[in-house]
């Protein structure tokens, strides 16, 4: 049973996206599409014919599979509804970040592959942002890792008693900024824009269509849910059991669903309350978050909690 907990991520990630969109629409005074719309979109894309530029290489065709597969691999090492993750020996939090980096690397290559201006723009901006986000994300997780004495996410999640201290709050703030940046949301990127000149994540996907686009979109939904899961595993592990029995898992699933919906509402609220930052001001935001993460680490070392 616990072997299959990553399936939760694969199946429910489009729903989280649907909920975020629904909440955003409500905040704008719109009805908005139903929460299952991302599923319909994926089905529609999977049925559609693909148009692939003649100048692209194997990188362009391999990327959707690499991105999707790497995201599934990341899902396997994260405790979702139980900390008894049989695959957790496969990798820790550092591996996780680098599995994401693998997907990002190929996505940036694919953006460049077709040789269009927008793809190249998207890739170059994505790498610039990634350069700032990756160390900041790593650092914010380190506080928890040091407290737990392990970089294994399951172990961090099990040590539930050490949190809710100043260092915890600082690390959490930094991590939320990292989640916003990694999921391509306002104020870093605008996921709803049709303006090619402003795109980051969407710019890299602009040449994709049909099945490949469906894979990339789905992988992006999964990555979003993974980051949310990571956030609750590390910062709010309350209620995640080490149990493997069916009743325990069912209860844990209920608590997990609640946490995910709260994360979705939080993201929608952040997005609705702000305008996108000017691109060259991103370093101030991400740099600021890096400082928060650093402070969190120092606080922990000095205060011991």
């Amino acid at each position: 049973m616990e072997y299959l907990q990553f399936i939760v991520i694969i199946i429910f990630s489009p729903l989280i996206q649907g909920i975020i969109k629904k909440v955003k629409a409500a905040m704008q005074g719109r009805v908005g599409p139903g929460v299952f719309q991302p599923y319909y979109d994926l089905v529609r894309l999977l049925k559609k014919e693909m148009v692939i530029s003649g100048v692209t290489s194997w990188v362009f065709r391999a990327t959707p599979f690499i991105v999707f597969a790497s995201t599934v691999a990341a899902a396997m090492i994260i405790p979702v509804i139980t900390t008894r993750s049989p695959f957790s020996a496969m990798g820790d939090v550092i591996a996780l970040i680098y599995i994401f980096a693998l997907g990002r690397f190929f996505m940036a290559l694919a953006g460049l592959d077709a040789g269009t201006a927008f793809g190249g723009e998207g890739s170059s901006r994505e790498m610039a942002v990634a350069m700032l986000v990756e160390p900041m994300m790593m650092l914010s997780i380190f506080t928890a890792a040091i407290a737990a004495g392990s970089t294994n996410i399951a172990v961090i999640a099990e040590k539930q008693d050490i949190f809710y201290s100043p260092s915890h709050v600082l690390a959490l703030s930094a991590f939320i900024v990292a989640v916003v940046a990694e999921t391509g949301r306002i104020p870093v990127d605008n996921p709803d824009t049709h303006l090619e000149l402003t795109m980051i994540h969407e710019g890299m996907l602009l040449e994709y269509s049909g099945r490949y686009l469906a894979l990339m979109e789905w992988a992006h939904f999964m990555k979003q849910m993974l980051l949310f899961t990571l956030a609750v595993d590390i910062f709010f592990p309350l209620g995640i059991p080490a149990a493997t029995g069916l009743p325990g898992l069912a209860a844990s699933f209920g608590i997990y669903s609640l946490k995910m919906v709260l994360m979705a509402v939080l993201m929608a609220a952040i997005e609705s309350s702000r305008a996108k930052l000017r691109f060259f001001q991103l370093p101030s935001l991400l740099g600021g978050a890096f400082v928060l993460a650093l402070l969190s680490l120092l606080t922990y070392i000095m205060m011991g909690k």
Partner: protein, 509 residues
């Protein structure tokens, strides 16, 4: 009606020197156009219209071009504001401005043959040719974009087909990193030959065409066109018609300004602001539909007056306006309170006063750059001389300034509508239209939401349209966009562009 148009024929060099001296003494260039009057007078004519500063008067020097020599001293080197007009006249009439620094084609695209001048009276086109051009199979005159060379410069071509539901326009950026070094827009993808179409219509049918030149300025176009024809035929319109036109012009300005401010939020990604702006705009457009039968206020204007008594809906207008004003105040509070939004607007897309003056920029864009120009003040028409208002100007010249000028003008429009509804103005809606006398001509003008709008009409020997020239504000302001975005970063372009909110249709004509 006092005639404020002063025509003056001048020959060759004198024409050029006169125009330059008018420009130097601070007169404002409004438009420049040509006519083909070979049938009656055996010549082409080129007119330049200037506004006198501080006086309701137009100085209109014109030049006759006879015989085979179809070139004249170009004005562009001395008056940069005419650079598009001269290129357009070159495309349409084949009259060559000597000394023009850039005589590439402006209006016509590659498949259109170079020796065809559609606004000449003897212009003909065969079915076969039409098909060939329509399909764009033959590239007769390739267009060369300006090229920026140097290390690290790369080009980003955008459009003509965009991802949003907007009209076609191509933008060629030369960027260094994320910084825009040079931008060349290419427009006129949907040139509809509107001016030629007007010639085939009668003057009274032309109103319907004028209302369809640019959707969001339908009423302004209709009004300016009617005004031109009325002035030409010497028709005085009743007080009531003047009041209704003024009222609807302000309603049009109001829904446009509110919608434009909301649209800027789409440029910064502030979705909540965008939705709020769109909601108020929608309420105002529904009001338009209730009072006029058209969301774009079409079908009200006719030559000689108006067709509907809008004042019978005064209560509806007042109540709708009251809720809209409340919503609008809350909306502006939301926008100005969103620091992340305001931060994006400040210092983005700066247009200096000097460039705005030199390029003849008009409307909101001009006033935001410190050019105090508003046709409602400079040439009072309809009831504007009886209404109290001050054109809002600021010298910042950035996107924020353009938003604030719109915000202040919207409030001003609301108070003008209230003032208009307070008074009584007779019952008569339209005057008897006098016949248009042969070889008459006149200007019609108004301040549309985007800026000054001009029509110039001339009748032929039978009193039918010989030439209808229309000059929309977008035509004046498009050349300023590249200057405003210079030095900004590429992802800020959509925001800068939205702050001008220029019409493609109104420019392509």
């Amino acid at each position: 009606m006092m005639n404020n148009e002063h025509y003056r024929e001048l020959g060759g060099r004198e024409f050029r020197d006169h125009c330059i001296s008018l420009c130097r003494s601070g007169f404002t260039l409004r438009l420049m156009f040509a006519t083909d009057e070979r049938e009656n007078e055996g010549c082409f004519k080129i007119y330049v219209v200037f506004s006198e500063t501080g006086k309701d008067s137009f100085q209109i020097p014109f030049l006759k071009l006879k015989g085979d020599d179809l070139s004249y001293h170009g004005l562009t080197p001395d008056i940069p504001a005419v650079h598009w007009y001269e290129r357009e006249i070159h495309d349409m009439f084949g009259l060559t401005p000597e000394g023009h620094p850039d005589l590439r084609r402006l209006v016509f695209h590659d498949s259109f043959p170079g020796d065809s001048y559609p606004l000449r009276k003897d212009w003909k086109i065969s079915e076969a040719e039409l098909r060939e051009w329509g399909e764009g199979l033959v590239r007769k005159e390739p267009y060369h974009f300006m090229e920026v060379k140097g290390e690290g410069v790369y080009e980003i071509p955008v459009g003509p087909v965009h991802a949003g539901i907007i009209e076609p326009g191509h933008f060629r950026f030369s960027a260094v990193g994320e910084t825009i070094f040079f931008l060349e827009p290419r427009l006129f993808y949907t040139h509809k030959g509107t001016e030629k179409l007007f010639e085939g219509f009668g003057f009274s049918e032309g109103v319907r065409l004028a209302e369809r030149v640019s959707g969001t300025s339908s009423f302004s176009h209709g009004t300016a066109y009617c005004m031109a024809v009325e002035r030409m035929s010497g028709t005085d319109i009743p007080e009531k018609a003047k009041a209704i036109r003024t009222l609807l012009l302000e309603l049009e300005r109001l829904y446009n300004h509110v919608g434009d401010i909301g649209n800027m939020c789409a440029g910064t990604g502030l979705a909540v602001g965008y939705a709020a702006g769109a909601l108020i705009k929608e309420k105002l457009m529904q009001l338009n539909e209730r009072v006029s039968g058209s969301r774009y206020l079409r079908g009200v204007n006719v030559i000689g007056g108006v067709t509907k008594d809008i004042f019978q809906y005064a209560d509806d207008i007042l109540t709708t306006l009251e809720t809209a004003t409340g919503d609008y105040k809350a909306f502006m509070k939301l926008l100005l309170g969103a620091i992340s939004h305001v931060e994006r607007l400040e210092n983005a897309g700066q247009l200096s006063r000097e460039i705005a003056m030199k390029l003849g920029v008009t409307g909101v864009a001009a006033r935001a750059s410190g050019v105090n120009d508003d046709i409602r003040k400079a040439h009072p028409h309809l009831l504007y001389d009886r209404l109290e208002f001050e054109p809002h100007t600021t010298t910042r010249g950035d996107v924020f300034a353009r938003m604030m000028v719109r915000a202040e003008e919207a409030e001003c429009s609301i108070s003008m509508i209230h003032a208009l509804l307070e008074r009584n103005y007779g019952r008569e809606l339209a005057a008897e239209v006098k016949d248009v006398s042969p070889h008459a001509c006149a200007l019609g003008y108004t301040e549309s939401p985007r800026g000054s709008l001009f029509y110039w009409v001339k009748s032929d020997a039978e009193g039918r349209p010989l030439r209808v020239k229309l000059r929309s504000p977008s035509y004046c302001n498009w050349p300023a966009v590249p200057f405003a975005v210079h030095g900004n970063i590429v992802p800020d372009f959509p925001l800068c562009n939205k702050s001008f909110n220029l019409s493609y249709s109104g420019c392509d004509m």
